[in-house]
């Protein structure tokens, strides 16, 4: 009896589906490919999971509130490149990283101000900032006359490449961030505000929740997280490429939707951001390990996303019919 209740509670998690798929993929890969547990493969998996999850965490907070941020890829690129630029100018590592993170948070705050206080839709604002900061990335790279910036201090590279208990420092940071946000969302009153606002914005406003302030905060966090992802990525790959984070926002959005978020708001969790991201990365890995043409990746991801969305819609429709709302 108690087991049944536990099972029901587990099933009610928004990320349940993506978690199952992740486990399925993991088993498939572990059984099917001898190279999966290869040191090199595990490391490269971490190197792509950790930065992407940081972006997905910020995105998920916004998705819970019924918004999204298409500028995460550009913020990631700008912060990473800016950090690299400062490092090649011989600034201390800590200072350079902090400035890059502050820049990311500031861009997020700009998004937040435009959405919350100027009343412009998140889609428009973040498409706009996506264009603007991708342009600034190119501006820095062109002024440096380089395709990618390299030559960083050793302590910065250490952050990206040392291992602690088999995992990169950035993976530990990622786990810490996910746990902190998950606890805040599930256990604190403050965390519930995100869901209330996402569930029904006008009621939340009427009830006196600080909707504008929360919107601003969520965008700022998203900017900060994207910057963190960008810095991590640069530290690991030891170079800041011109194309850092280019077009990644669609992948992150898909990861969040697969991980149980809904663009309508009021649904999702940071754990889902993690499982959704892991799912996409494992899928990518499967294509590589099994030697399938990676061109089919887009077809498969698109198909899965449409399937998830459709199933989600059918379930919601059934529930509404059962409640007699249609």
């Amino acid at each position: 009896m108690k087991l049944k209740m536990v099972a029901q509670k587990v099933k009610s998690f928004d990320c349940f589906f993506s978690f199952l798929v992740c486990v399925f993929f993991f088993v498939c890969l572990a059984v099917g490919s001898p190279y999966f547990f290869n040191q090199q493969n595990i490391l490269s998996l971490q190197a792509s999971i950790a930065p992407n999850t940081m972006l997905a965490v910020g995105m998920m907070l916004l998705i819970i509130m019924g918004m999204f941020d298409l500028s995460v890829g550009s913020i990631m690129g700008f912060s990473g490149i800016f950090c690299a630029y400062l490092l090649t100018r011989n600034l201390p590592v800590i200072v350079a990283v902090l400035i890059a993170l502050a820049a990311g948070a500031a861009i997020g705050a700009l998004n937040g101000i435009l959405v919350a206080y100027a009343g412009i839709s998140p889609l428009i604002v973040t498409i706009g900032t996506q264009f603007i900061f991708r342009g600034l990335c190119e501006l820095i790279m062109t002024s440096e006359l380089a395709v990618s910036l390299t030559g960083f201090p050793a302590s910065f590279l250490e952050f990206g490449n040392t291992r602690f208990l088999g995992l990169y420092p950035m993976t530990w940071i990622m786990l810490l961030v996910v746990i902190i946000f998950q606890v805040i969302l599930m256990k604190t009153y403050f965390g519930k505000w995100f869901y209330y606002i996402g569930g029904n914005k006008s009621s939340a406003t009427t009830m006196g929740f600080p909707v504008k302030g929360m919107t601003f905060l969520a965008f700022t966090i998203s900017g900060l997280m994207s910057a963190l992802g960008g810095v991590m990525s640069v530290a690991r790959s030891q170079a800041a490429s011109r194309y850092l984070g280019n077009g990644i926002q669609v992948d992150i959005l898909i990861a969040c939707v697969v991980g149980g978020g809904s663009l309508l708001g009021g649904k999702g969790g940071v754990a889902g951001a993690l499982t959704g991201t892991i799912f996409l990365i494992l899928l990518d890995n499967a294509f590589n390990l099994f030697g399938i043409n990676s061109l089919f990746k887009g077809v498969v991801i698109g198909g899965i996303l449409m399937l998830v969305v459709a199933v989600d819609g059918i379930v919601a429709l059934r529930r509404m019919k059962a409640q007699g709302k249609i």
Binding site: A118, T129, L263, L295, F296, K297, G298, V299, V309
Partner: protein
């Protein structure tokens, strides 16, 4: 009092697009020598006239408050698909084009069925179909040897009526016809009702779902048509065709005065938005300003246009 406010509201949304176009046009015309030359103006018009096809169906969806993010990848796929059937499989060109248009239209209709039947958010569904179609395009692109297409395929975009490319004439005619239709013909008027309030229009007996499904079909169809002409113009297939087109179409529609909430926008305004973006790209490259700064300018103009509009309207959140 109320009527007065309504009047002012409509006025501003009517004119912001035109004012911006005129301002930018004057700016470049007065400050550069080459911008006003007839060949330059013609090249801007020709470039816009090809992308214009993709914006037709897209605008219908925007008017109804829906969105189709797959336009860019459909634009990319259609050119490659025609090339595949024509160059690799040896089909006659006209048959290849008809088949591709039909296939893309059917896919768009299927997306429309998904959206309307299960009441899904069109943005989420088309996020999936965007990735799906782009994947199909990539697979198809790599399944046959890429060469420059033969004269017959390349002739589509080059065909002229008199001295003018047919796409420009088509663009002008389509704009005039659809603009009149959107003002007068009931089916088109219904789109605005749906965009303003879907549930009320359902109560008044408008077949909301059917109109939406057809609009999704049209969106895919027109995007495919634009893609075929665009591929014909550059004379080879490329996966970069139509990259980011969905964002520039959204920008064009919104700068032209549409709202993402629906109920506003028209073909003419979308066209004005596209002209504005094309003039900016053109004018800034006359100034020898790098393409990446054009990105910054485009982004800033998008936000600024909407911001000014929100302030002018004082109607709260728009778009």
């Amino acid at each position: 009092m109320e009527r007065k406010q309504l009047k002012r509201h409509i006025k501003w949304s009517d004119y912001t697009g035109i004012i911006l176009v005129v301002l930018v046009f004057m700016l470049f015309a007065l400050t550069t020598d080459t911008f006003l030359s007839s060949s330059n103006i013609y090249s801007i018009l020709y470039g816009v006239s090809i992308q214009f096809f993709a914006v037709i169906g897209f605008t219908f969806l925007i008017i109804m408050g829906e969105i189709d993010l797959a336009v860019g990848s459909t634009y990319c796929l259609s050119g490659i698909f025609v090339g595949y059937l024509y160059a690799a499989e040896g089909w006659p060109l006209w048959l290849a084009i008809v088949v591709v248009l039909a296939a893309c239209g059917m896919f768009g209709y299927a997306v429309g069925v998904l959206v309307t039947r299960f009441r899904l958010n069109s943005m989420m569904v088309t996020l999936g179909s965007m990735s799906f179609v782009a994947g199909v395009a990539a697979v198809m692109f790599n399944s046959f040897v890429q060469t420059t297409y033969s004269q017959q395929y390349r002739a589509i975009a080059k065909w002229k009526i008199g001295q003018i490319h047919w796409t420009i004439i088509g663009m002008i005619l389509i704009t005039i016809i659809l603009e009149i239709c959107l003002k007068r013909v009931p089916v088109f008027r219904k789109m605005y009702y749906i965009g303003n309030n879907g549930e009320t229009s359902l109560l008044y007996g408008i077949k909301v779902d059917r109109i939406k499904r057809i609009a999704f079909m049209l969106s895919a169809l027109t995007a495919a048509l634009g893609g075929i002409i665009s591929t014909s113009r550059i004379s080879y297939s490329s996966l970069a065709t139509g990259e980011g087109l969905e964002f520039s179409l959204i920008t064009a529609c919104v700068v032209g005065g549409a709202s993402l909430d629906g109920g506003r926008g028209s073909i003419l305004r979308s066209l004005l938005g596209m002209l504005l973006l094309a003039m900016l790209t053109n004018g800034l490259s006359i100034y020898r300003i790098d393409p990446f700064i054009q990105n910054i300018v485009t982004g800033a103009i998008l936000i600024l246009a909407v911001f000014v509009d929100v302030r002018l309207d004082k109607k709260g959140a728009r778009a």
